[in-house]
Amino acid sequence: MDPIFLVEAAINGILLGGVLALLALGLNLIFGVLDIVWIAYVDLVMLCMYAIYFFNVAFGWPIWAAGLVSLAAGTILGVAVHLLIISPILTSAPINQLLATGGLLFFLQSAATFLWTTDHKTVRLSLPSYEIAGIFLPATRIIPFAISILAVIALYFFLTRTYIGTAIRAVSQDRDAMSLMGASPQRIYIVTSAVGGLMAGLAGALLIFQYSVHPFFGGQFGPLTFMICVLGGLGNMVGAFIASFIMSEIIAIGGVVISTEMGYVIAFVIFIVMMFVRPGGILAKRE
């Protein structure tokens, strides 16, 4: 095989990794603070993508305005999921929490099928493609990558430099100690869910550049996103960031060398094996 294809695949992997990182960090932020995996996280992204589609294509809004709608939709959805579903079961068994968000996944997928049918909906953007040394770099991939890296940096500063960000990190380190200090975790939970939802909205706005949206979009990226979070260490933001690129490279290169499905199979098998040898994530110290 021409090595240029491998180089191209590797570059595409990095570009995909940026957007995956956004998804994984959003989910991981929520996990770190609430200790709950939102199985339906990528289905929220799917709803945001539909929002962009409808505002851009059906109502004729410019794409940036539709993108802002997506951000708002994501934030509202994040808070709504927390208040309606997570908040009542915050103290029940972890498995019930997992299943409740699983129910949400089912609900969102079927509601989307019911409302908007299973047709793939695409937002058409005419953006240029650049060719550098025989490798094609479409702007539809470069722009989302650049924006997600900026968003990740913004998230980093939010978590480390602001008061509320510090509080979020404090809760994820020790929930009980935080309440002992007189802080209310409830407010932190809502802010975290809102930020997580905002990330979902942004990821939706960026994914619509490259993918068409359909009710089962969550199935395409959902399992991958949880696996990235676990691989990076649930709650570990830096780990999740690195794991996004590892997984996206495996999928991109495996996809070119063997086949798309086998790329995913290899990524998932590596995930399973990593769970045994390093259950705390790639950055965890071995016990």
């Binding site: 079961i89 299943l99 609900f107 997928q109 079927s110 989307a112 019911f114 998932f268 769970m275």
Partner: protein
């Protein structure tokens, strides 16, 4: 006790006689719904053997898919009778359960992590089926090669739905029996102790890995049998309906809805979800595609929030409390 035995006997007699009740044109349809309920309840029982002890698997689709595809591929390509195929299918499912289970339980992969590892396994099996599209037909699925006659015991293909009705009823009853055996065994106490606290269980001399592996293997084997049964009945296999995250969640949800801590929970849950989807399908036709699942998903969230021990579990709990005073939810 004798009164409930009598009631159970009467119900069983009713179930056995059901296919002979004259129902005119409705018979095929009623039987079809009943068979679906029995098969999926059987699979749900298999899942709840693990689920009730906190071993929540989101990847039972893997075992289902391995079961269904093993017999179907062996029959289609080598004309191997599904009787032997089932043994191989169970063997394959047990092998996967062991390869997955031993490291999982050794390295204490529990709770969320166990659920996510099993989810990955389910997806791996689905993707492998899709990737090997030269034999498996990929995501288009695969139709069972016909045996050439309406009645073939060798190929387990029968045009008469009554055969499958009795067959799936028998498997369903066998599933109940196994569930009951586990419920009355020492293993139950051991597994409950493990579910509560592994370290504490190990400290009183319970062999944690062995018990967990045992129940996982039983559950996987039964699920594979369920997969074979379903494939033989429908005579069509598809990776989306028999493997992967979708079907795995479907199994879990039906059981949770009915109640995973009680014997009849999987049946109640499966019957309800089947009735709901069939009812909505008849009422609205294909016009409202996805409507049934939407209501179903919503019910599920509501149930997990308000009735975590399921419909049947909660009813039983309330009845018991009224008659014999307070008891634990699980008894």
């Amino acid at each position: 006790m004798s009164r409930s035995r009598l009631l159970a006997g009467a119900l069983l007699a009713l179930l056995l006689a059901a296919p002979f009740v004259p129902m005119g044109g409705m018979r095929q349809y009623v039987l079809h719904v009943a068979i679906q309920i029995f098969i999926w309840s059987f699979i749900g029982q298999a899942w709840s053997l693990m689920g009730r002890f906190g071993l929540v698997s989101l990847g039972h689709g893997a075992f289902l898919g391995v079961g269904a595809y093993t017999t179907t591929l062996l029959w289609n390509f080598y004309s191997l009778t599904p009787w032997i195929g089932t043994l191989l299918a169970v063997g394959a499912a047990v092998a996967i359960a062991a390869v997955l289970g031993i490291p999982c339980f050794r390295f204490r992969v529990i709770g969320h992590y166990f659920a996510l590892v099993t989810l990955a396994v389910g997806e791996v099996i689905r993707l492998l089926i899709v990737a090997e599209r030269d034999w498996t037909g990929g995501s288009l699925g695969l139709t069972l090669k016909t045996a050439g006659s309406d009645w073939s015991v060798y190929a387990i293909q029968f045009a008469d739905k009554r055969v499958f009705y009795y067959g799936s009823l028998a498997f369903f009853l066998a599933g109940l029996w196994i569930w009951d055996r586990v419920d009355r065994s020492m293993a139950r106490s051991a597994l409950e102790a493990i579910g509560e606290d592994e370290t504490a269980a190990a400290s009183v001399g319970i062999h944690v890995t062995r018990f967990k592996l045992g129940i996982t293997v039983v559950s996987a084997a039964l699920t594979a049998v369920g997969g074979v049964l379903y494939a033989q009945y429908i005579s069509y296999v598809n990776p989306d309906t028999l493997a992967g995250i979708g079907v795995s969640l479907k199994i879990v949800f039906a059981v949770v809805l009915g109640g995973m801590y009680s014997l009849m929970g999987p049946l109640v849950g499966t019957a309800l979800t089947t009735a709901l989807s069939e009812g909505l399908r008849i009422a609205f036709g294909l016009k409202f595609l996805g409507m049934a699942e939407t209501i179903y998903g919503l019910l599920l969230i509501i149930f997990i929030i308000f009735l975590p021990s399921g419909i049947y579990g909660s009813i039983r709990y309330t009845l018991r409390r009224r008659t014999v005073g307070p008891v634990g939810v699980r008894s």
